[in-house]
């Protein structure tokens, strides 16, 4: 289980900014997110970076209740 924070297009596609999802690894949490939010979110997730606790992470990394997962779509600042 882990906390999820979604930004920009990912937040809009999911219809929420924060969520808590089950899963023992990053990959299983993201699978649960796609199941919950649907195809539009899945499309955005494909091109996004997923970070854990403010650092780039591997999908096989274990995650727990204290971990914060961020979904960061391609950026458009400036």
């Amino acid at each position: 289980m882990a906390r999820l924070t979604l930004f920009g297009p990912a937040r809009e596609a999911a219809g929420r900014k924060n969520d808590t999802l089950d899963g023992a690894t990053l990959a299983t949490v993201l699978d649960a997110a796609v199941l919950r939010y649907g195809a539009a979110f899945q499309t955005i997730l494909t091109s996004s970076q997923v970070w854990v606790n403010g650092e780039p992470a591997d999908v096989n990394d274990p995650v727990g209740a204290d971990d914060e997962i961020s979904v960061l779509p391609p950026v458009s600042g400036g």
């Binding site: 930004f7 297009p9 809009e12 970070w51 403010g54 960061l72 950026v75 600042g77 400036g78």
Partner: protein
């Protein structure tokens, strides 16, 4: 990672919902040993690649990471151009009206070459390494900007 609690006196990094002031930033950046100040202001333009009639933009950030990245950009600029004296990086979040600045870069330096080079580096790097998303508004609608780039590291070439 925790947000840095203090800012070196020679960098002014800011994410804000308030209007940006080039005059205030330049006054802050001016030092007696500087002969050159270069500023870049990113302004809300009335059109984009996708829309002919843009009326406003709205910026959303991962604020903690954006703040950290903007500090890293200033630090990297100092590493590349050690002569530069002060660096300002300000970015709006939330709604920004037409012709208002959404982003501001100020670099002051003894000589102009370093000020130009470092200011250019800062805005180019900010655009690809700061987690920020732009929504375009037009009469009757809005959408996320299609002019995106993958989030890169400050140190990526």
């Amino acid at each position: 990672m925790k947000r840095m609690s203090s800012t070196p006196a020679s960098d002014w990094i800011l994410l804000t919902q308030d209007q940006l002031s080039v005059g205030e930033a330049m006054a802050w950046a001016t030092r007696a040993n500087c002969g050159a100040i270069v500023t870049f202001s990113g302004i809300v333009r009335d059109h984009s690649e996708a829309q002919e009639n843009v009326t406003a933009l709205e910026y959303e950030a991962d604020e903690e990471l954006a703040d950290r990245r903007m500090r890293e950009i200033a630090g990297e600029a100092r590493a590349r151009w050690p002569e530069i004296v002060t660096v300002v990086l300000h970015h709006r979040v939330g709604r920004v009206a037409l012709s208002e600045p959404s982003v501001l870069v100020v670099v002051a330096s003894p000589h102009r070459n370093e000020a130009f080079e470092a200011a250019r580096f800062c805005i180019d790097t900010l655009k690809r390494s700061v987690p920020m998303w732009k929504r375009e508004y037009w009469p009757g609608g809005s959408a996320w900007s299609e002019e995106t780039s993958p989030l890169l590291d400050v140190h990526d070439p």
